[in-house]
Assembly symmetry: C2
Homo-oligomer: 333 residues x 2
Amino acid sequence: MAGSRIALDVMGGDGAPAATLQGALKAIADTSPHDLSAGDILLVGDPERIREGLDALGGDPGFEIRPASQVIEMGDSPAVALRKKPDSSIAGCVAAIREGQASAMVSMGNTGACVGAATLGLGTLEGVRRAGIAVTLEFKGRAVTILDMGANIAPKPQHLFQYGVMGATYVRDVLGVESPRVGLLNVGEEPSKGTDLLKETHGLLSGGSLHFVGNIEGGLLFRDAADVVVTDGFTGNVVLKLLEDFAAFMMEQVLTELRAHEAGWVGEALANLRKNIDYSEYGGALLLGVNGTVVIGHGRSEAGAVSNALGLASRAVAANVNGHIVEGLAAVR
Amino acid sequence: MAGSRIALDVMGGDGAPAATLQGALKAIADTSPHDLSAGDILLVGDPERIREGLDALGGDPGFEIRPASQVIEMGDSPAVALRKKPDSSIAGCVAAIREGQASAMVSMGNTGACVGAATLGLGTLEGVRRAGIAVTLEFKGRAVTILDMGANIAPKPQHLFQYGVMGATYVRDVLGVESPRVGLLNVGEEPSKGTDLLKETHGLLSGGSLHFVGNIEGGLLFRDAADVVVTDGFTGNVVLKLLEDFAAFMMEQVLTELRAHEAGWVGEALANLRKNIDYSEYGGALLLGVNGTVVIGHGRSEAGAVSNALGLASRAVAANVNGHIVEGLAAVR
C-alpha cells in the first residue's frame, strides 16, 4: 500500500549502496518483527547503481525506484549541501513524502542534512513548536529513549515539554510501554536544581498529564529510572557521541585483554558483549515532530541495522505515532 | 612545613574514617611520587574517632588534629548542611586554609558542600570570576582534563575562557604538559557551531594566548584531541556521572561474560581492564579558582585514592598553580 510506503535513501551511509540494498532485501525476507514486501519500499538514488547493486545481490524483487542524481556525503556541511545538491537522495526521500508517494523515510546518511531537509520540506506537525531527535538506547534489556539528540541545541521550556509528550507517545505506540515514565536530565534530583530552562521545564512537565518522574541525573540514565529522558539538543548530542566513542573504547580494551588468550569461547563472549552494549538494535533515531515519519540511522549501519530501521519506520506509521502526537499536544494546550 | 600542609577531611566519604586514615598513612609511607611526612597532613574531624582509628591501624605517627564535631553526609543538601553544621569537618578544612594552618585541603565528602564552603570561605583568586571543577580522566595513558564539572551550571563566555586558562595552567604545572592543547566541547568542529555562549567563547579562546585547538565533539573526548576540554558545569556534570555509570555498567557486562568461564587468567584480565578504565588515579577533582588548593575525591575512594589525592594537593601547592593562574589571567586582561 502506497500510504505506508517507506522511502529508503539508498545512497546514504558508509556502506552505501550495497549495505542499504542488502538491508532492503533483508527487510522483505524477514517476516518478523515486521512484515514488509518489495512494494512497501521505495528506493531513492542513482537508478543505474541501484540496478547494478541489486543484480549483484541476486536480482530485483520488484522495488520501485525514485531517481536522485546527487549524494550528500557524511562530511558535507548540511546547510551548504542542501542548497548545492537539490537532487540529492535525501531530498528525494523528503519529496516522496511531501508528494504522497511515501509516508516515511529511512536514511543512514548525513544526520544534519536529514534533519534540515525534513524540517524544511515537511514542516512540523500541528501544534509542534520544534522537531527533536529521539534515540532509543538499550542496555541489558532496559530501554531508554532520549530526546533531543541535536536538532534543537538552544530549546525553550515549551520545546522540552513537547519533547516529553512526543517521546512518551513514541515509546507507548512503538515500544509498547503503557504509561512511559518521563524524566528530565539534570544535575540533581530536586526540582530546584539546574538552569532556569530546566526549572521552568520541570514545572511544565509536573503540570501536564504525563507520568513525570522528575529530574534524572546522568548516572541514572541506564538504571531504568525512566523510559523517556528529555534534554536539550546540545547535551543530548554530546552525550550520544561520547557514549558511542566510550563504548567503542571499552570494547577495544576488552578485546586487547582477551586477544592474549586462545580460549575458544572468547569469540562468543565478545559477540555477547557487543550485543549487550549495542544500541543500534532499534535501527536508528526518529525525528519526532515533523509531518512525516523520518528514521535516521548510523552511517556505519550494515544490512541488519538498515532492515531494523525500515521496521521501525513501518511500526511508527502503523501505530500512527504522529496522529497521537497531534492529539496529545492538542489536549495540553 | 606549615605553609604547604594539607588539611584532610577525615570524616568525608563512604569509607570514613578508616579509609581516609589509611590513605593518610599510605601517603606518608610511600615516598614516590610525593614525599609527605606526618607533619604535612592536618587531620580534621572527631578527635576521639581519629585516635581510635589510628590505634586500630597501628598507632599515630605524629599527625596534628583539628577538631570538628559535625559531619556533612553524602546525601545532605549542601546549602542546608553548610548552614546547619557550622562545625563540620569540611568547614574545618576550609577554616584551616583561611587561618593559614594549611594551604590545601582534601575531602572525599559531599562535593557540593566542598565547593560551597571553599567558594564562600576562601573567595576566588585575584582576577577569577568563577571557580570551576577540573577532573582529569585517563584512558589508556591518554589524559584529558575537563572543566567545569558542575560548579557553574550557567556560565558566561568569560567564565569559560578563564576555565581554559586555569585548566591549561594546572595541566602544565601538575601534569607536566608543556603547551597544553585546549579544546571547547561542542556539537561540531566549525567555529560557527553551538549555542551563542559557545560561539562567543570560541572567539575569546581563539584570541587568547592559549594553544586553542578549537571545538571538540563528544566522540573525540578520549581520542587525545586536547589536553584540556572546556565545558559548562551542566554538561560537564552530566557527562561525568554518565561516564562513571557507563563504565561500571560495562564492567558488569564483562564480568558476567567472563565469570562463566574458569580460565585462570580471567582475574588478571579484569584487573588490567579496571586499571585501563580507572579514572580516579589522579586522586580527585581540583576546584580551580579559589584562594587555596582544594581537592575533592570520590565518595567511594579507598586508601590508595586518598593517598593520591593528598599527593595531587601537594604537587599543586608545590608547583604554585594558583600563583600561575593569577599571573596568567592578569596577562590576558
